[in-house]
Structure formats: structure tokens, C-alpha cells
Symmetry: C2
Subunit: 204 residues, 2 copies
DNA sequence: CCGCAATAAATTGGCGCCAATTATTACGCA
DNA sequence: TGCGTAATAATTGGCGCCAATTTATTGCGG
């Protein structure tokens, strides 16, 4: 029940648990459960939840508690549009900065996702997917951009995840990744933008 | 010293005070001062400051306190690049959605800034400027996009403000606003993007 | 007169209790 | 047996104290 130094990460731990679908959309996050699950004091749990509210990753209802936000369809659309703007906006820098070894590393990460898509757990798929996109965004060399992209992604994650793992969409995502790598290798910015946009807009 | 219902707004009040330059860049935000200035309890002040840390609008140093972040030049550059991506990414929707009355309203707001630029206080200039851009962004019809744009703008506000009010840059900004209105009226998306980009990149 | 060290004042920050509110259960009455 | 209501249990949420740390002040020696 004691956490002295690492207080901040608790918010991220809870956030990650939400991303991994360990709490269902609309589910209440009971403070007592959380303090047990993460071995934290009640106060720390509340601080973390409050931070997640500011980040819009959980919703707060007065005198009722904190819950995983159930965002309506139109909000999901808004999120998607912002993602398209940001992630396509990142393309020019990505293409400009990518070295041969960057491409090689990306390719390896895309391959890791391929493997996970075929024979991995949900968590493997989620992890390798995130690693691939993280590596790609990092190529922009702009930490503010990277952070902004992830803040939007993380906000819209609660819903899509449940419907995500159909074999078909999974295979499609996998193909997209490899195609992105190809575009970057060829310096094809326009092509990369196209792939990213359809990757985001695909009916998850 | 008592605030029962309106707890959340305190963070925004403090944020606004920072935007208006009432605290200098790098200045320490003493909790005692804040609780006096805003007639809030110590606990509420700390909650608000913690929220602002999550939003990256203030910086926290352990055992020393909270201060207005002094962001180094390269960070300012990163912010600008993200702003360009977001605000130019908003252009297509703005142009597509703008009705004749929207253009009229924008024009009026641009004019209000013109007046403030000539004979208003700093606060007038800041306010009318914000109102103009808020109205323009609102035309996207995408609240997530609007909010994202402002979260980036508000993070990079601390420094530029002091150097902002030279008559020349002020006049330049004023011209930009009117040109933006013109582009929207003509449905000239490419032109609008250009103006916005140079508006943002101009050496404030 | 200046620099350094010990002391005092001020400020921050971790933590937990208890009242207020909501959900649940139990009971009595139609 | 079903429904409304009251008692009970569970959960949330506002608030404040005091230790830890830093900064300012004072006093002393060189």
C-alpha cells in the first residue's frame, strides 16, 4: 500500500489497463478496487484519476465516481479526423528524416506485428502495434507532435478495442504497416499519407 | 476562502492569469499568494496547479513548487510546427462550412482586433485576438480539433507575450486576420493555409 | 567589511479522517 | 406477491494538520 517516489506513473498504469481493455467501456472505476489492484493509497488513486480526467481518458460524475468514458459515434469521428490531420501532418518530417537503419528498424517492428497478428495474444498485438507507430512517429524528431498524437489516440481507445481483433481487420492493419514502411523507404510522402489515412479511417 | 461548487474553473482562472502575462516566465507560483489572490483554499490551489501540470501549462519541481515554464527555443519551434499542422489541417473544414454570416461575424471580429491593435490595452488585444481565432476554429465543427489547437496554443503562450506588442508585428497580425477572412469568403483553401502558416511562423 | 555557518522562518507536500451522498437491502403494507 | 419506504451498508469527496525541505536571517570569526 505504499508508494513513495513513483507517484506519477500510477496514472499511466491505470491508463494502460484501460487501453488493454481490462475495464469495459462505461464501467465504473471503484477507488477501493484500484487501490488494491495497484497497491496504492486511496489518496494516490484519486490523484491519478483526477489527472486522467484532465487528460480526458476517464470521466467523472460527481458523487458517483470515475468511469471509462463511453464516447458516442460522432465523437469517435471527431477523434479520427484529428488523428488524420496530425498523423498525416507528420508525414513530411518522417520521410525527410528517415535513414536506412530507421527503415530497417521499422520493418522489423512491422514484422513483429505480423507475427503477433498471426499467433500472439491481444496484448502482444496491442504492444507491437504501439511500438511500430511509436517508432514511426519518433522519426519526426518533434516530441510535442508525438505526444499530441498519442494523447488523441489514447482518448479514443476505449471503444474500438473490443471490436478490433477480427482476423480480417488485423490482416489489413498488418498489410498497411508494411506498405507504410515501403513508402518511407521510397520517400513517397503522398503515398504514405494515403495509407495512414485509410489505416485510421478503416471501420475498426 | 471558500469555494464550494466551482472548483474546476480555478485551474482555468490561473491559466488565464498566466496567459495575460500576470506572472512572468520562470516565476514561481507561491501557493499562499494564489490562495489569497483567488480566494481559494490551499487544497484547491494545489489541485488546480496539479491539473495545470498535466496540461503542461505549469512546471513542477519537487520540494520547490510550481512555476511558469520557461521553454527553450527549440521547444517553441516544436510547438509552432504542431500549430501549423493543426491549424492548417483545419482549413478544409473551415472553408467548406463557412456561411455568409459566418464570414460577416469573422470580419467583425477581425475589425475588433484592428481597433484594439490601434487604441486598446494589451488585454483588449489579447482578448480580441483570441475571439477571432476561436470563431474561426469553431467553423470546423470539430470540438476535439478546437480543443487540441488551444491546448497547444496555451502551452506556448508564456514566452511570446512579452515581446508581442511591437507596433509592427501587431499591424502585421491585423493584416493577416483580414486576409484570412478574405480567403474564407472566396473559398480559397490554399491561400488560407499559406496565410495561417506565415501568421504562426512570424517571429513574434 | 565580507564570507560562512548555525539558527529561524517560510513553504511545500504526504497522508487520513469523517461527513455527505448514493446504492442496497429489509420490511411492512396494500 | 408486488411496491413503496425506511434502515443499513458502501462509496465518494472535502478538508487540514504536521513533518520534510528549502530559503532567509542572523551572528560570529577572519
Amino acid at each position: 500500500m505504499k508508494r513513495k517516489e513513483d507517484k506519477r506513473p500510477l496514472a499511466d498504469e491505470i491508463a494502460q489497463a484501460i487501453q488493454l481493455g481490462e475495464f469495459r467501456t462505461g464501467e465504473w472505476l471503484r477507488q477501493i478496487d484500484l487501490e488494491e489492484r495497484f497497491s496504492a493509497t486511496r489518496f494516490d488513486v484519486r490523484t491519478a484519476l483526477e489527472a486522467l480526467v484532465v487528460r480526458k481518458e476517464v470521466q467523472h460524475v460527481r458523487n458517483r465516481g470515475y468511469k471509462v468514458p463511453a464516447l458516442e459515434p460522432e465523437m469517435i469521428g471527431y477523434h479520427r479526423d484529428v488523428r488524420v490531420i496530425l498523423e498525416c501532418g507528420a508525414v513530411p518530417q518522417i520521410v525527410a528524416n528517415a535513414t536506412a537503419e530507421d527503415v530497417a528498424r521499422l520493418s522489423a517492428l512491422a514484422e513483429a506485428f505480423s507475427v503477433a497478428a498471426k499467433s500472439g495474444t491481444h496484448m502482444d498485438q496491442s504492444r507491437t502495434n504501439r511500438e511500430f507507430h511509436e517508432a514511426m512517429h519518433a522519426l519526426t524528431g518533434n516530441p510535442v507532435l508525438v505526444e499530441t498524437i498519442w494523447s488523441i489516440r489514447d482518448r479514443g481507445r476505449s471503444a474500438p478495442f473490443t471490436i478490433w481483433r477480427t482476423p480480417d481487420t488485423l490482416r489489413q492493419s498488418d498489410e498497411d504497416h508494411h506498405q507504410m514502411v515501403r513508402c518511407i523507404r521510397e520517400g513517397n510522402a503522398a503515398g504514405l499519407s494515403e495509407v495512414i489515412e485509410s489505416h485510421i479511417r478503416r471501420p475498426h
